[in-house]
Symmetry: D2
Subunit: 342 residues, 4 copies
Amino acid sequence: MIIVMKHGTTQKQIDQVIENIAHMGYESHLIVGVARTVVGAVGIGDKSRLTALESLEGVEQVLPIMQPYKLASRETKPENTVINVDGLHIGGDEIVLMAGPCSVESEEQILHIAREVKSSGAAILRGGAYKPRTSPYSFQGLEEEGLRLLAKARKETGLKIVTEVISPATVEKVAEYSDILQIGARNMQNYMLLKEVGKSRKPILLKRGMAATIKELLMSAEYIMSEGNYNVILCERGIRTFETETRNTLDISAIPVLKKLSHLPVVIDPSHAAGHWYYVEDLSLAAIACGADGLIIEVHHTPETAASDGPQSLKPEKFSSLVEKIRPLAAAKGKKLCFIEN
Amino acid sequence: MIIVMKHGTTQKQIDQVIENIAHMGYESHLIVGVARTVVGAVGIGDKSRLTALESLEGVEQVLPIMQPYKLASRETKPENTVINVDGLHIGGDEIVLMAGPCSVESEEQILHIAREVKSSGAAILRGGAYKPRTSPYSFQGLEEEGLRLLAKARKETGLKIVTEVISPATVEKVAEYSDILQIGARNMQNYMLLKEVGKSRKPILLKRGMAATIKELLMSAEYIMSEGNYNVILCERGIRTFETETRNTLDISAIPVLKKLSHLPVVIDPSHAAGHWYYVEDLSLAAIACGADGLIIEVHHTPETAASDGPQSLKPEKFSSLVEKIRPLAAAKGKKLCFIEN
Amino acid sequence: MIIVMKHGTTQKQIDQVIENIAHMGYESHLIVGVARTVVGAVGIGDKSRLTALESLEGVEQVLPIMQPYKLASRETKPENTVINVDGLHIGGDEIVLMAGPCSVESEEQILHIAREVKSSGAAILRGGAYKPRTSPYSFQGLEEEGLRLLAKARKETGLKIVTEVISPATVEKVAEYSDILQIGARNMQNYMLLKEVGKSRKPILLKRGMAATIKELLMSAEYIMSEGNYNVILCERGIRTFETETRNTLDISAIPVLKKLSHLPVVIDPSHAAGHWYYVEDLSLAAIACGADGLIIEVHHTPETAASDGPQSLKPEKFSSLVEKIRPLAAAKGKKLCFIEN
Amino acid sequence: MIIVMKHGTTQKQIDQVIENIAHMGYESHLIVGVARTVVGAVGIGDKSRLTALESLEGVEQVLPIMQPYKLASRETKPENTVINVDGLHIGGDEIVLMAGPCSVESEEQILHIAREVKSSGAAILRGGAYKPRTSPYSFQGLEEEGLRLLAKARKETGLKIVTEVISPATVEKVAEYSDILQIGARNMQNYMLLKEVGKSRKPILLKRGMAATIKELLMSAEYIMSEGNYNVILCERGIRTFETETRNTLDISAIPVLKKLSHLPVVIDPSHAAGHWYYVEDLSLAAIACGADGLIIEVHHTPETAASDGPQSLKPEKFSSLVEKIRPLAAAKGKKLCFIEN
């Protein structure tokens, strides 16, 4: 930590800062500049409590130098983490496509879409059984029945399953039916839930909150990892900005930034970012070219009657055409699409 | 809902829209303009599923006309809601001050601060027992022991207690020890938690999420109210913007906007908005002049050693001086400070 | 400047940084931490070129310690600046109200509104002659004819005039007819214009750009002051955020932050912040309670036919009622309203 | 325009709205819903003045249905605009790379970099002669001498020149020396400057302001086009958000959105978006995959001593390696790189 003193600070105020730093177990190093004195606090361990020194007289600000995450950091683990999802690998040389409807609506619907996306090249089926909806009056998901339908689709197609978990109490049940547990954007800082999925050993798809910084996303990954579950897949799905032409603003830069700061795989959700199916293809191609390890895309065969997120769902034929455009880009990046054998 | 058709739409595409609207149970009314045709969907009930019509060919966009919240709306209930907290009223002619430390740290600490803020004019004691922290390595609160210390402070001072609840499983326990349950900003869209506190009959202090719109805040209030708990106090605590001089940007306009759209009381948290004690006084005065029903302020007697949020905590003497500045402003607004008799 | 080295940096890389710092004329001071080495650059003068060191290998980031503005800083001039506008003072114990239409539309209109706002308590008449409009097809202002009408209103009422200047070439002409030159939000970083008004000696009302940080606003003030014109009035008028209930988000915290960092007066524009007349009163009261030195408010007697900004204009009777609510708040702050004798 | 009436509006209020609409020359069409009445205003021409109806009693809001830009709209001109820059085409099947230093610093510097970027595959040389800098104390550019050096580099290498113009008075001079006039992000709404470059016939590279919506960018293009200059190249260079890991947030979605709404070419500036050279490569590849017509990239051979923007400049060898990665992606999109023969 760097403690910046105010212009015109007294020696007594500086001594008080040094004393407080010593009291917390760190050493102080001074840099006396022309207009400002700066105190560096040096030592081992978490220095976050040092921010409280901003309350001392004469202190202008406290600047952190180190990142507060450790297990998620590339400094701790320089090589990429490759996550094994029951034989399928995320974070390595293969690009993984996850696709499916926003919500599981019926057996006919989920099986139909599962077959379609598999034949196009998806390896993982997405579909919500428990739906966090902005309105209490909107469709809230089929819940356990939805999980059973997903499991049925897995059995029939061989696709792996990713589905959202929205409360600590249902983690175990959702884990029973699925291969990857998804933490939604609205729950990125639901720490009770993060701790609970941290106790599981299932891979976690952790979505970035719509106002979360990249560092906060890594701190949430750290919550999961600090409980012993290192299988965290980071997912950028658009952040909230002033622009309203798209539902959210896809922060494409999050890919190289996350890759630089962390060893964890990064997946992009172009559907929620765009909010309209028309833009999903171009954003998907951008993500692959930018280095994403995979995509999670909403697909529905009759989006105009979908229970949720209809406007942003691709029809199966559009998804299929998108996959064909991804192949040469993946090749240009030295990667290939992961696929599930029949 | 207003469905705006694209320039050059065919009659067949318009007919398809009308058919889908009829299928969902609504009537269609057309406005044929010079460059655009617009279809209005008229009828009773939730029209949110109509947004899926954006997937139809020829549709440019679907514009909602009605607000999606009902119980929280001033249209439903024109008069202000006044919430009774065990004899103390929030939302009427009295301004309510809530004050106390970010975290309960020890018996000595919470009792000391409780006595101080009461003697200055606070009516409610705040203090966190369960702390949602960005880092898993930061202090996470004293948990149930913290709740017991809060109850002890209530018994000794007569102050009411507001404290945060962070998981559905602990709602009952927290309700046992406190007078108001706080839903923190990070949990504003934790719908499982909202539903659970909706089943309680304790007043709820619902904090706006840092990237939540005013309408989304009202939708979260609607979640609680739709479970039968109408005692919701809305709290603006700063939103996330590009400005970094303050921790968040206090959206002071939220006060008149919420008062116009809803009948629920509105409280301001200047401490989290500012992130630095120095700005808390001016923001507090602004909030009162703007029509807030109360304030929730962080106070700590030794902020430089606080376990959390030290930089934004007022010392007791600053809090006392702030209260004295609030009095004439309250009077100018025709209000007075609520107080607890000894 | 603080140069933070990467984890695992070599001595050679550190030496390279020190050499570059020396080459730019500064001294280096090292702090060798447990996980990071930090280099402080000490010396006199502008250190902004040091940011280029981020290009050197081994450098993680360069953190500025000092503010880049000098003339606008309270460190340079601790006492408040009080600006004399032809006998009327802004920044002292009096609160100054500026009011009038968005655009000057006709002699009848501007004289009518001028008389109204004066009788209610305004001291300065606002009105646009040159209008920066988002659309090239919208009304662009009466230009020089508008300036003449403003001068006529001044002659008749004694009100001072504030009006916007939008190009370097017209600064002289606008200065001829008005008492304060306004730089609009969209021109806050139009440096050619800032330099030109810096050569004038008229007071400048400098509006914050809608995505400008508080520091950038002060840097723009610095541009004007560095040309010799120290009469700069800062104006917060709302920033752009994700919230859409209001046209912009009034950053009320900008008042205490600007007062802390700078000695210049601060005025609030609640009309552009809110974008709707209904919210103007509450925001105005908040601004006064928060310490603003004045307000600039749009007033129009027939807003439903206004050439621009109708929705956010107060009718004269609403303005009058607002002024009466401001008086007791001003008194509570130990201030009074500035007024123009008849 | 759609005028939404409040819940419980009286017939008299509706009649008043209809009368005002008629007075402005439009016809009214009513949709009487269950809870709301909606009035559609139909007719030819700019309806922006109808927004003033929000001031009428009983009106809740006025919703625009049509886009306010015409010349820039794809509805007006469905086929792509291909701009001819002295024989080189932007907006067609070729991808155009613009590269060079932030500022022209010396003859040696600009010639050295020009030769390097040309040999790597750039077709256009960028370089600032007039620099809009946040601080008045930072390097402001070599001005006319800089223009002469750019012209010299063009003569020697055959590269076309793009350089920024920052005031109406210098448009003619800058046009004399360069092939494309750049309007910087801070001047996107400097309407005097837009009108002036609109009178020129040189191609204009119009950068999006950092808080400008996509529609506002198109409105600024409309300003230029309404003066007769249809050669506008749109440039996305990052918008301002809460994320601080990158200097700005590249809004990659702007590419497909602009392509849908407009026929104008779209170029991406990854350097200003990222603010750090390390991220420039991945963002460049994303932009090409997403459908950009070109890139404008900062390149400097000694970025650690650059007069401006050092941290975000690529070294020539990195630029060269980036171009080699662009080639296969361009091929995958059915495009090739535009090049300048020796």
